[in-house]
């Protein structure tokens, strides 16, 4: 129906005069009126555009939910609840935070203003957080999650207010975006997380219903890891905590803890008790897996950072007791190897968390370590120090220094114990007193300790970079993961098409995708089968090679038994026939023959049992029992060479391949046997088995030590190379008799099992000690 200008004006006047005007009708009338303007006109936006904009700007539903949590982070909330329920009758997603909330004005002129983002005008939140999104369209991506959105929010000044968005109403042809109503409502309560143990006065609660798709276990897992990038890596810190709850993957229904500390190259803890000059350091790194504990005097620490030259140094630190935690990260692909997250996620985590912050009673003290403050972020002037001497680590400990964006640190103080570290009256921060300078120097000295440690382990870092080749089983895992991801993507495309198209067109479009999903399924199964067959073959070949190597070495024992058996039997025959017959000696020879016939039979069994089929499948095995069984089989050979072989350690069970454990052990024992024979005197081989957890995983080790001559330092790097052998016939000769394959097999198996191998000198037996560490699987 076409209205004349006068009609419209009249209707508008009538509406405006009403005591309770219909603003929706007024809005439409004024819009129609504005179209009659002869000089100025405007764009009109189709309602569907909103849907397209939201869907096109977001990769998937996990990212859509992360966007909502990022909004909570930017709103300076301390706690966020994230609920995802889509099984067992549940069908909603809820994100509730105790941030500063939104006023009615914020809601109407901000939240409902597409493309508007306060983050564009201010990069940092009120409390100094670096804001995480800038596009201003994160909220409309909520359409990816479900058809309806209900939002309730509360600020300190304003009353509770809510709005309801029915995204499906926008998904119609020919309507203007302003034709679709977004309903406001005024609730009486809001359910947001407590703040500092008390009910929060402010916050925002978003509930999404009519979910678009089912969430899988891997979706929840991804969500958990992506959320962890937003949280600080220190358990005690209460800056930003996310509580994830869901009914899909119950093991991820928990507080989101940052797992990113696992990617730290070095972790340093410093503790000063408050009196005296002793500072206790604990330093761990991911290359040595050792915990180094050091006690350093305050004076020593100051001299490290050249602060003792022009001033007298007091005995105590004036600042009182402090504990400091420093995490050093590299922003490179190698840092995330062996972890569950991606490099991009680590970088995001570092962008959100880098800096050394001061926490008083577990609450951050601004501006230290906050990226928005010019002097606050790098309050220790680490960047300036690096700029003055940009030497890399290759130049040694003296000149190497870290950059501020490689460090995440937390200094823990309290109001009661650190009275001298008081707030500045003039501006934010602490009074720059002697106590503060002591604190600053304490942190600088600790950074220096970390730098020295890194320079010291630099050769190991280099070595680890050289040897970081992907093992065949990990490569296989990666292929499977990639195929799985292709399948997931296809399924996601399919469900998207199904939700956006009419029924008549859906099946035409989705059929080829369904066929592709089926194909990917078949290929995945085939690849899986081929890979496991190849790995099984590899396992059998390693086992067979091990039998070959060990038979060549222990073969002497078998040959000796065969000849002894033959000759003793013949002797018995001759002794019985001789005149007069010596029956006593004949019986003794028969006994000897029998004994050695059993030895030969045992060796036959040894070879046959090595590659038994059941040893090739992954299952729970008792490591100690497996090792004891192999030792029992090889004991006669060791005893024939006067080698006392013993095992010590505890029973422990791990899910692994028995054949792999046996192959590793037999190769190491073969080497130990040869090594022992190279030296006269007491000969011993000791196998030790024990639990040993690293920073990254639970695990165990078994080591094989011997009384042989040990491995010369110059060979230690080469012994794992294929065809390299130090085995000679006897002492003083240079003729190599080894195949040079044993340790290569050991290394390859250990790599496949995600373990590591170390070689050094046994402190007691003085010969070589090979230590195999393997992750303990349940």
């Amino acid at each position: 129906m076409v209205h004349t200008e006068n009609d419209l004006k009249e209707k508008l006047q009538v509406l405006l005069k009403e005591s309770n005007p219909d603003y929706r009708a007024i809005f439409k009338l004024t819009r129609d009126l504005s179209k009659l303007d002869k000089k100025y006109q405007h764009f009109f936006v189709d309602a569907k555009t909103l849907i397209h904009l939201g869907r096109d700007s977001i990769k998937d539903h996990t990212t859509a939910l992360i966007e909502l949590v990022k909004n909570s982070y930017d709103a300076d909330s301390k706690n966020v609840d994230v609920d995802v329920y889509c099984r067992k009758g549940g069908n909603f997603i809820r994100v509730a935070d105790n941030g500063f909330g939104m006023t009615k004005d914020d809601l109407i002129n901000g939240w409902l203003h597409i493309g508007f983002s306060s983050k564009r005008t201010s990069k940092h939140s009120k409390t100094g957080r670096r804001k995480t999104g800038e596009k201003g369209i994160g909220r409309i991506s909520a359409d990816r999650l479900g058809g309806s959105l209900e939002l309730i929010t509360k600020t300190e000044q304003d009353t509770l207010i809510g709005l309801i968005v029915n995204w499906d109403a926008f998904d119609v042809e020919g309507k203007d975006i302003s034709d679709i109503d977004v309903e406001l409502f005024y609730p009486t309560s809001i359910n947001v997380p407590n703040k500092d143990g008390k009910p929060s006065e402010t916050g925002t609660e978003i509930k999404i219903t009519n979910l678009r798709q089912k969430w899988s276990v891997s979706n929840i897992e991804n969500l958990y890891y992506e959320l962890s990038a937003l949280t600080p890596p220190f358990n005690d810190v209460k800056d930003f905590q996310i509580e994830l709850r869901n009914d899909i993957a119950p093991s991820f229904s928990k507080r989101v803890n940052s797992e990113f500390f696992k990617a730290a190259e070095i972790e340093l803890d410093a503790l000063y008790g408050g009196k005296g000059s002793d500072i206790l350091y604990t330093i761990k790194d991911k290359y040595t897996n050792k915990v180094e504990i050091q006690e350093i005097k305050w004076q020593q620490l100051l001299s490290k950072i050249n602060k003792t030259e022009d001033q007298e140094v007091s005995e105590d630190l004036k600042c009182g007791p402090i504990s400091l935690k420093l995490l050093f990260f590299l922003r490179e692909a190698a840092s995330v190897q062996g972890t569950t997250f991606k490099l991009s996620e680590l970088r995001e985590f570092l962008d959100n968390n880098a800096g050394i912050k001061i926490y008083r009673d577990n609450i951050a003290v601004k501006p230290y370590g906050f990226p928005n403050s010019q002097f606050g972020y790098d309050w220790l002037e680490l960047a300036e120090r690096k700029a003055k001497d940009p030497a890399g680590i290759g130049r040694g400990a003296e000149s190497y220094s870290v950059t501020p964006n490689q460090l995440i640190g937390a200094i823990f103080i309290s109001r009661d114990n650190n009275i001298d570290l008081s707030d500045s009256a003039a501006r934010e921060g602490l009074v720059e007193s002697e106590s503060f300078y002591d604190l600053r120097n304490f942190v600088l000295g600790s950074i220096n300790m970390l730098e020295t440690h890194r320079a010291n382990i630099y050769p190991l870092i280099e070595k680890s970079r050289e040897s970081k080749k992907t093992s065949s089983s990990k490569e296989a895992e990666q292929i499977q993961m990639q195929l799985f991801s292709v399948k997931e993507d296809l399924e996601s495309i399919k469900s998207e098409i199904e939700s956006t198209n009419t029924k008549s067109t859906t099946s035409d479009v989705t059929r080829p995708i369904e066929i592709s999903i089926e194909k990917v399924d078949v290929i995945t199964k085939k690849v899986d089968k081929t890979i496991s067959e190849l790995l099984n073959w590899n396992r059998v070949l390693s086992g067979l090679a091990t039998i070959g190597i060990s038979s060549a070495v222990f073969g002497h024992e078998t040959e000796g038994s065969i000849s002894l058996f033959t000759n003793a039997t013949d002797n018995a025959r001759l002794l019985i026939r001789s005149d007069p017959p010596d029956l006593e000696l004949a019986i003794s020879e028969i006994d000897k023959a029998l004994k050695h016939s059993r030895k030969v039979a045992a060796w036959g069994a040894y070879a046959l049992t090595r590659v038994q089929r059941e040893k090739r499948s992954k299952k729970n095995i008792n490591i100690k029992k497996t090792i004891d069984a192999v030792v029992k089989e090889l004991k006669p050979a060791f005893e024939a060479s006067s080698i006392k072989i013993e095992t010590e350690g505890e029973f422990l069970v791990s899910r692994t391949y028995q054949m792999d454990i046996e192959s590793i052990l037999i190769n190491l024992l073969t080497n130990a046997y040869t090594a022992c024979n190279l030296k006269p005197g007491v000969r011993r081989v000791v196998i030790t088995i024990n639990r040993e957890d690293t920073r990254l995983a639970q695990g165990y080790f078994f080591s094989v030590s011997d009384t042989g001559p040990g491995i010369a330092k110059e060979f230690q790097k080469r012994i794992f190379e294929p065809l390299f052998s130090t085995k000679t016939v006897s002492t003083g000769t240079s003729k190599s008799v080894g195949t040079g394959l044993g340790l290569t097999i050991v290394k390859s198996i250990v790599d496949d099992l995600s373990g590591n191998i170390k070689v050094d000198q046994d402190p007691e037996l003085k010969g070589a000690r090979f230590k195999i560490w393997l992750p303990k699987e349940k």
């Binding site: 040959e559 000796g560 002794l575 001789s578 024939a640 060479s641 006067s642 006269p680 005197g681 006897s730």
Partner: protein
């Protein structure tokens, strides 16, 4: 009585091979006896053993360094190391190896040092015939000269030797390939020099006492 020595670190192997050698020697009507030993810790002990036990042939195992025995720890050498040392003094004494690995390269490299390499798996009367023949030959050829060497050495060592005795001993040593452990002429010179040193020491002592008394 002349003996064949069996040197093996493995007690059971050693005993069985000793029984076997004795049985076959008896069958061959040989009067040679058999002595068996665990390898000596030091090479030098073999010379004393060969001389005192009247050893006229040795049957040595190759891998001597494996086993231990009661208070004796495993030794540091193998059979082919030992044969070279024995040959330094007893150039023509028959030495055989009895091994499980006759094709072993190390052993084959030392083949010229041995009279024969036998496999333990084929240690029959045929092999013992070879050993026995070698022993008889060695006995015939060397017994007389060895006895003369012994007599001459004793005579010269006791100071009763004459110039022609020394020359004869030298000739026998060359023939039997016995290395000269000392040169008699040098020994005399050394003694003169030694006595001179003692005189010098006495003079020094005298001077010191004189100085102290002052």
């Amino acid at each position: 009585m002349a003996k064949i020595a069996i040197v093996d670190d493995n007690k059971e192997q050693r005993e069985t091979n000793t029984i076997r050698l004795r049985l076959f020697l008896k069958e061959l009507h040989s009067e040679i006896e058999v002595s068996d030993i665990f390898p000596f810790e030091k090479y030098s002990d073999y010379y004393g053993y060969i001389d005192s036990e009247n050893i006229i042939a040795l049957v040595i195992d190759e891998k001597l360094y494996n086993d231990s025995q009661l208070d004796k720890a495993p030794v540091e050498y193998n059979g082919s190391d030992l044969v070279g040392y024995i040959r330094e003094r007893y150039k023509y004494i028959p030495i055989f190896t009895l091994t499980n690995f006759p094709e072993d390269q190390i052993l084959q490299d030392k083949i010229n040092e041995y009279d024969y390499i036998f496999s333990k798996k084929e240690f029959t009367i045929k092999q013992v015939e070879i050993i026995n023949r070698a022993c008889q030959r060695y006995l015939e050829e060397n017994q007389k000269e060895l006895s003369q060497v012994d007599d001459l050495t004793r005579k010269i060592a006791s100071g009763k030797g004459e110039a022609n005795d020394i020359e004869r001993l030298k000739a026998l040593q060359i023939k039997l390939s016995i290395p000269f452990s000392f040169d008699l002429k040098d020994r005399e010179e050394w003694l003169i020099e030694y006595e001179k040193q003692i005189t010098a020491l006495e003079e020094l002592k005298f001077k010191l006492e004189k100085k102290l008394n002052k």
